[in-house]
Symmetry: C2
Subunit: 311 residues, 2 copies
């Protein structure tokens, strides 16, 4: 069996990086596969904090598998092809470990696929360690814990599954950290937006969704102060308009999420802002509006947009 | 939680029926779900033999979930929407247990999905019984064993996974049958084609695939005598042409599979017989050709057709 790349989605976050590193290790130990964890981008500031904390090197960045002589891949934390490696359509997908909806995913042959509607892909990978009776190395426990904390905003997001609390407890014990203290420090490391250009800011955690023929970009930034981000609105809008022109996005929806109070401000530009307004039953003023209680793109934004765009 | 329907694909075979009945039971016992196994068609002769042998009633046939007041479903042994219940696009897919490629499958929300490239969906369901420490009732062991035997032609098909031999051994022990003797009796029960009209014959085990915009119907019948089936070629071709006209199939590919010698004769009619010939590197004479060693639609026919239609 030749080498298999294991990677999370483009614009990798802590769950994409953590789940891919952990699953690459598990697949070697439990299934005897010749895996290498790689990444489709460099770590964001939160993930850089995580890797540094647990003394793990960032996976090397690749843009094409074929160019590296690899034709078989395992996807973690994503399945939609437009969020994956550039040549995904020409590769054999050996397996998928994910916690998202399924869309724009098709294979020629049967494969391993393990999806659960839980808080993070890392939660599933951890469960697979236990099923295989493979001991979890301390650093990988830290990475998987970070993936879960990141995706659920410290178990506060509605995407948190009832089983995730126990997963977090067990991983924190193996990693040797205090869940609350470590979690808040980690999330705050990802909110340092002042050092970012507007172009970087709108790309920290952004995914493209094809909604009824429209390429809709949905980005999210975490902050402890929404107003501070909105002070840069003009600069951010210019970056969004450039991204739309360069990439053909019909719409760009930016979630500015307050991780302390668990709310988001939605900034939306594009051809279908009427559909965005209908999705959330709000009126955009000066292109933005408040969405109380919304912290999850996956559960509180994308399904609503999908329904509205298809209406 | 309201009632959840569990069902296999249209034109159910022994694996579709066996995996859905077994998974509906497991989901009640292990996950506390209010499930009911239903079917998208009546059992074929092989499956009727299986149900009779183990004293299990056939699941009731439904054609729409909404009409029954059900809006949540679990799919076994399939994922492609065109092989599923008529109103699948309007339902919530709670979970999937399958061993096929993924295609034409999309959800609005995250879900449970457990796919493995093994010989039968029943193999996976049995593994999930073990993971959940739920005891397998004797009759359900017999049904899952029958699903595995049916899909792998008694572990001879190239779709057989290395783990399936042990699964078959364990299920045969629980079911209290001799694997070889029971398996052959069961497969032979499915080869009684003389009693079928040509219309029935081409629909015993047939699935539609969308290949590069074409609706391609791929059917399979098992026999112990290929020549006996070909004696009815004129009648079968008339039935195929009627099915094409009625359903808009661009192509119809019938595998006539010799279960004793593990070969198939391919009978193909339609607009793209050049692509069918290219797929298998053979020349159709009088609309049919021999395909040595081919017994698996999933592994030896559909991927080859997919590649050829997309070339």
């Amino acid at each position: 069996m030749s080498k298999i790349f294991v990677f999370g989605h483009q614009n990798p976050d802590s769950d994409a990086i953590g789940s891919s590193l952990a699953f690459a290790y598990l697949a070697k130990e439990a299934y005897g596969l010749d895996t290498e964890a790689v990444a489709l981008g460099t770590p964001n500031e939160e993930t850089a904090f995580v890797l540094d904390y647990f003394g793990v090197e960032a996976p090397r960045v690749v843009t094409s598998a074929k160019e590296e002589g690899v034709d078989t891949v395992i996807l973690t934390d994503h399945n939609e092809f437009q969020q994956s490696i550039s040549d995904i359509a020409d590769l054999t997908v050996y397996g998928v470990v994910d916690h998202h909806r399924v869309a724009n995913f098709e294979t020629a042959s049967p494969l391993y696929m393990r999806l659960e509607p839980v808080g993070s892909a890392s939660s599933i990978v951890y469960r697979m360690f236990k099923e295989s009776n493979v001991e979890v190395p301390k650093a990988l426990a830290g990475l998987m814990l970070s993936g879960l904390i990141s995706d659920t905003l410290l178990l506060k997001s509605p995407t948190t599954h009832e089983t995730d609390h126990q997963v977090a407890k067990e991983l924190a014990a193996i990693a040797g950290v205090n869940l609350e203290e470590y979690g808040l420090a980690m999330l705050k490391a990802g909110t340092n937006l002042a050092s970012k250009s507007a172009e970087e800011l709108i790309d920290i955690d952004a995914k493209t969704f094809e909604l009824n023929g429209n390429q809709v970009r949905v980005a999210q930034v975490n902050t402890v102060d929404i107003a501070e981000v909105l002070e840069r609105q003009a600069e951010i809008e210019a970056a969004i308009q450039k991204a739309q022109a360069d990439n053909g996005y019909s719409d760009f929806v930016l979630m500015i999420t307050d991780i302390i109070n668990s709310n988001s401000e939605i900034l939306a530009l594009g051809s279908n802002t009427d559909k965005v307004e209908a999705a959330f039953d709000f009126v955009l003023e000066n292109n933005h509006a408040f969405l109380a209680g919304a912290v999850s793109r996956k559960k509180q934004v994308v399904p609503q947009l999908t329904e509205s765009f298809n209406a």
